[in-house]
């Protein structure tokens, strides 16, 4: 484990938010499994992953790739970021792509909601 991980993590409020999400979702997961409430267990397991990854991401920032040879060789977010103009252009195309992904998400969720049916969901191939 890189030595500069824990200190910045504890000082980052988003790390604490992630840890809180992990704790809450673990409780939801365990209670959902013990009381056979599928939705609670499902959401608990999903948010457990979300919390773990969010806490990990918060702990890593801003050193995105740590160098074990020399700390000054590490890649920070500010050092590896594209220029201001590129980021400004990305601010224009990214929301469009994100809306398309969300629209696809909503369409697929509505199309395949419910229990699995091999006859209905096979598309003839499964």
């Amino acid at each position: 484990m890189r030595p500069d991980l824990l200190g910045p993590a504890l000082a980052n409020p988003f790390w604490w938010l992630g840890a809180l999400v992990v704790l809450g979702s673990a409780i939801a997961l365990i209670s959902g499994l013990s009381t056979r409430r599928e939705t609670r267990a499902f959401l608990g397991s999903n948010f457990l992953l979300v919390g773990l990854l969010a806490a990990g991401g918060a702990a890593l920032y801003p050193v995105m790739l740590h160098s074990t040879l020399a700390p000054e060789n590490s890649l920070t977010a500010h050092a590896v970021a594209a220029g201001p103009r590129a980021l400004a252009i990305a601010s224009m195309w990214w929301p469009v792509g994100f809306m398309l992904a969300i629209a696809y998400f909503v369409f697929i969720s509505r199309r395949y909601v419910g229990k699995v049916s091999v006859q209905r969901d096979s598309q003839g191939f499964y």
């Binding site: 979300v50 970021a81 191939f125 499964y126």
Partner: protein, 166 residues
């Protein structure tokens, strides 16, 4: 601005891991929860229409990483080249196994693609976990931002620690 973009890229990666993680789990548990060919078809039908939708988030994550943090992508993709090729082949084989496994009603055909599905799911889960572990541990980056590591050595924490080592 950079912190916001970091959050955006992290959000897309988290969305991919949560969504496709379900597919990895289905693949890894495929043989254990589904004993008959009909049950295996049911497991695949549960994620058959959805797997490509989940991988959209991997594509948008990669695209945003290239656009927003290009030097990180250049360093990481060059250093992790073998692992990334294995991830690419795992994704390809998993997709093929899902899509063509049911095309022929033959036990040998479906059995073969079931094996490919399970193996590729395990491979992907292990490699993505190794990537996360390497982020937490660090890699031997030089001043130019390049690094090169063997895939594994003796899986111990002493001596030269490589991609799959602890």
């Amino acid at each position: 601005m950079i912190a916001i973009w970091y959050g955006v890229v992290a959000f897309m990666l988290i969305a991919y891991v949560v969504l496709d993680g379900r597919n990895f789990g289905s693949g890894m548990l495929h043989w254990f929860v589904a004993r008959t060919p009909e049950e295996r078809r049911q497991v695949i039908a549960a994620l058959g229409p959805l797997w490509s939708w989940h991988e959209v988030w991997l594509v948008v994550f990669g695209g945003a990483l290239l656009a927003v943090f290009p030097r990180l992508m250049a360093s990481a993709f060059a250093g992790y080249y073998l692992a990334l090729m294995l991830i690419l082949w795992g994704l390809i084989l998993r997709g093929i196994a899902i899509e063509v496994g049911g095309h022929i009603s033959d036990p040998l055909w479906q059995g073969f693609w079931d094996v490919v599905f399970v193996f590729s799911s395990f491979l992907l889960a292990i490699l993505f976990g190794a990537a996360a572990g390497n982020l937490a541990r660090g890699v031997p980056l030089d001043a130019q931002g390049n690094f090169s590591m063997p895939f594994f050595t003796d899986f111990s924490v002493r001596g030269q620690v490589d991609l799959l080592d602890w």
